[in-house]
């Protein structure tokens, strides 16, 4: 009787463990600055790059993903946006640098909603702005000679029509 009881206990325990691992399966994301962030599997669903990888590797164990391109600061910003259901107001509060980085990470992790949101926010920022502003925004150095630039403006005169010179 006592033996039977122990056997049963072991079965029950194993079952409980299985259930547990199914229900609270978490994913650990390791950022470029070495911080490990544990997130629920539902959060990862939108990160299609990771999702595709998870579908390919069928494992019951907890999974660790290194994100060498993502800092912990940016990852936590992304988590904020996701939990805020991508509120435009939250996007407006981001700095230019944060916005660009999040946009890049959204592309890297293939997060469609986030990419759409940040890309359109950036488009809004550079709309109707001078060439110098846009260069500064994207950290671009102008590598054209003045003659080349004049020639390009001539080739694309239609595009520059009605635009004030900087």
């Amino acid at each position: 009787m006592g033996e039977r009881g122990e056997e049963w206990e072991a079965v029950m325990l194993r079952k409980a463990e299985e259930e547990e691992s199914k229900a609270v399966k978490k994913v650990k994301l390791v950022t470029s600055d070495g911080v490990t962030m544990e997130v629920e599997i539902s959060t990862v669903k939108e990160m299609e790059t990771i999702q595709a990888f998870m579908n390919a590797t069928d494992t019951d164990n907890s999974i660790i993903f290194p994100l060498p391109k993502v800092s912990s600061h940016i990852l936590s910003r992304i988590m904020e946006l996701m939990s805020g259901e991508y509120d435009q107001e939250l996007v407006k509060r981001l700095s230019h640098e944060e916005l660009k980085e999040i946009c890049m990470v959204a592309n890297y992790l293939n997060m469609k909603t986030l990419l759409h949101l940040t890309a359109s926010a950036i488009a809004n920022l550079i709309q109707n702005k001078s060439v110098e502003f846009v260069r500064h925004f994207f950290n671009i150095i102008n590598d054209f000679t003045p003659e080349e630039e004049v020639q390009l403006r001539k080739t694309h005169e239609w595009a520059f029509e009605g635009v004030d010179e900087d």
Binding site: F53, T57, S71, E101, C103, V131, R135, N139, W158
Partner: protein, 529 residues
């Protein structure tokens, strides 16, 4: 199912595979655009973190800008020079802002130069998803530039596997020689096109051979109907066509030989045909399609229609119809109809009149499953004259009347039509009058005769769309509120005059009057809009 207790965590870690087996995410590095970076920018002091945005992300950003603005990024740096050329959606629009004609010609030349670069100089793997060329205020002097754009468009169609093509030429008021424009016939042969829209007055015809195996949407406005078989040729060349809209224009130069529009398709789901002429010739329209679900015909001139569409669900007909033959499956699939047809234009003698009215009512035979019906006064005239009984609309729950005054038909005859009609709509719940006229109801016929209690008690909603506050309107509302045991909504809308500075508001007195009517339904709500 809460988080694992801290005590268990070590065990979980033990269970992890050895480091070599840890699944690692191998992701291709996003190809960075070669954008030189400023290294001496102190913003946030964390510039090192920044990597340049990959080209596909930059294109995504540019896709939210106007094409002109996106193109202006060409001068940012060498790496940006040709970036905008890879955009998958191209919207090239030309319009003029002033009356300086010489300047227009120069500007159109610039527009064409720019457009041709977009069409010719992109990477071969940068496919075009949609291409729209819209030339407004077109004048004859633009033709050389425009023809070059069109021939480049035809070439781009196959090179860049264009999916959607929209060409629009608008000459405005000037009667330009747009006939000197030629749309290459190649646009009617494309493996990739899914959508084709031409709003082009002239310069094209459906070629002898059409091969658009993937096209699902086609829109022509206007369509010059010069060749009787052209529409059928198009339908045959588009085996997947589902949505087809066109407006027929018969040009004044045409000798008017085309008398029959024949259409047969096994893929069409939606068809809209309109006539854009004042003096349309009499025509036969012969339509046959098992797949068609929605049909809208806005015709002018007298037409003889034969419509064989056993799966039709929606029909909207505004036309002068000489004869309409509807062939429907049984039970009829059609459940919504808007009938604004003039059956009785230019009748010759009484015999002709009666015969036409019989035909008009016969047409309702195929509509016994209607759930929503809109009728204009013109069709009601035919219902009045015809002696034939209309079969009952057992399923009809929404009926709407639109006023369209017709000659030789005093409105006070309408009572007879109402009585006839309401008697065959036993389950009507929503009744809408776009407008109520005094002579709809005459003094000596009590409202209880037109709207008997057995009819009124089913009505849940009554609506008068342009309520003017006249006595007979109040009388009608009162009758329904007094007798409508199921009445839930009385909706009264004021007419808002166009160009009025202030909206027309409901006067307190008017509201009070309506609200003072006795209601016999506990749930009745009056909406003043």
């Amino acid at each position: 199912m809460a988080e694992p207790s801290p005590a268990k965590i070590p065990r979980l870690e033990m269970a992890e595979p050895s480091p070599a087996k840890i699944p690692r995410l191998e992701m291709a590095e996003p190809s960075p655009a070669k954008i030189p970076r400023l290294t001496l920018d102190g913003e946030d002091g964390n510039i090192d973190r920044l990597s340049p945005l990959p080209e596909c992300v930059l294109l995504h950003i540019l896709s939210f800008l106007d094409l002109k603005e996106a193109a202006a990024t060409t001068v940012l740096a060498k790496s940006w020079k040709d970036l905008f050329l890879q955009l998958p959606d191209i919207d090239l629009t030309f319009f003029v802002k002033d009356d300086n004609y010489c300047n227009h010609i120069r500007r159109f030349h610039l527009f064409a130069m720019f457009s041709n670069r977009m069409l010719l100089e992109r990477n071969n793997d940068a496919l075009i998803s949609s291409l729209k060329i819209d030339a407004k205020h077109f004048i004859g002097h633009f033709r050389r530039d425009f023809n070059s754009m069109l021939s480049n468009t035809a070439e781009a169609l196959s090179t860049y596997k264009v999916k959607k093509l929209h060409l629009n030429l608008d000459a405005g008021n000037s009667r330009t020689e747009s006939s000197c424009i030629y749309i290459p016939a190649e646009i009617f042969s494309s493996e990739t096109l899914t959508s084709l829209s031409l709003t082009f007055a002239a310069g094209w015809a459906i070629p002898k051979s059409v091969c658009l195996p993937n096209v699902m949407h086609v829109h022509f406005n206007p369509f010059r109907f010069e060749d009787e078989n052209s529409i059928q040729r198009l339908l045959d060349g588009c085996p997947k066509l589902e949505n087809f809209e066109f407006t027929i224009k018969v040009s004044e130069y045409d000798d008017g030989e085309v008398r029959t529009l024949r259409m047969s398709s096994s893929s069409l789901k939606l068809l809209m045909v309109a006539w854009d002429v004042t003096d349309a010739p009499e025509m036969n329209i012969d339509l046959k399609s098992d797949s068609l679900q929605r049909l809208t015909l806005s015709l002018k001139g007298g037409h003889t229609l034969k419509v064989e569409t056993p799966n039709l669900e929606f029909l909207s007909l505004s036309a002068e119809v000489l004869e309409l033959n509807m062939i429907q499956g049984f039970p009829a699939s059609i459940h919504e109809a808007v009938i604004d047809a003039e059956y009785l234009s230019q009748w010759t003698d009484m015999r002709d009149l009666y015969s036409r009215c019989q035909k008009a009512t016969k047409f309702f035979d195929s509509m016994h499953n209607l759930r929503l019906l809109t009728l204009s006064e013109t069709i009601m005239k035919a219902l009045y004259v015809a002696s034939k009984e209309i079969p009952p609309f057992e399923n009809l729950y929404k009926l709407r009347f639109i006023p369209l005054y017709c000659h030789d038909f005093p409105r006070n005859w309408m009572i007879q039509v109402f009585i006839k009609l309401f008697a065959i709509c036993p389950n009507l719940e929503i009744l809408i009058f776009d407008q109520v006229f005094k002579n709809y109801f005459c003094e000596d016929v009590p409202l209880g005769t037109i709207f008997p209690p057995s009819f009124v008690q089913h009505i849940k909603q009554i609506e008068i769309c342009s309520f003017k506050g006249r006595a007979f309107e109040y009388k009608l509302v009162e009758h329904f509120m007094n007798n409508g045991t199921s009445l839930e909504i009385v909706c009264l809308k004021k007419v808002q005059k166009e160009n009025a500075k202030k909206p027309t508001y409901w006067k307190r007195k008017q509201r009070k009057k309506v609200l003072s009517f006795k209601t016999c339904s506990a749930e009745c709500e009056v909406l003043f809009i």
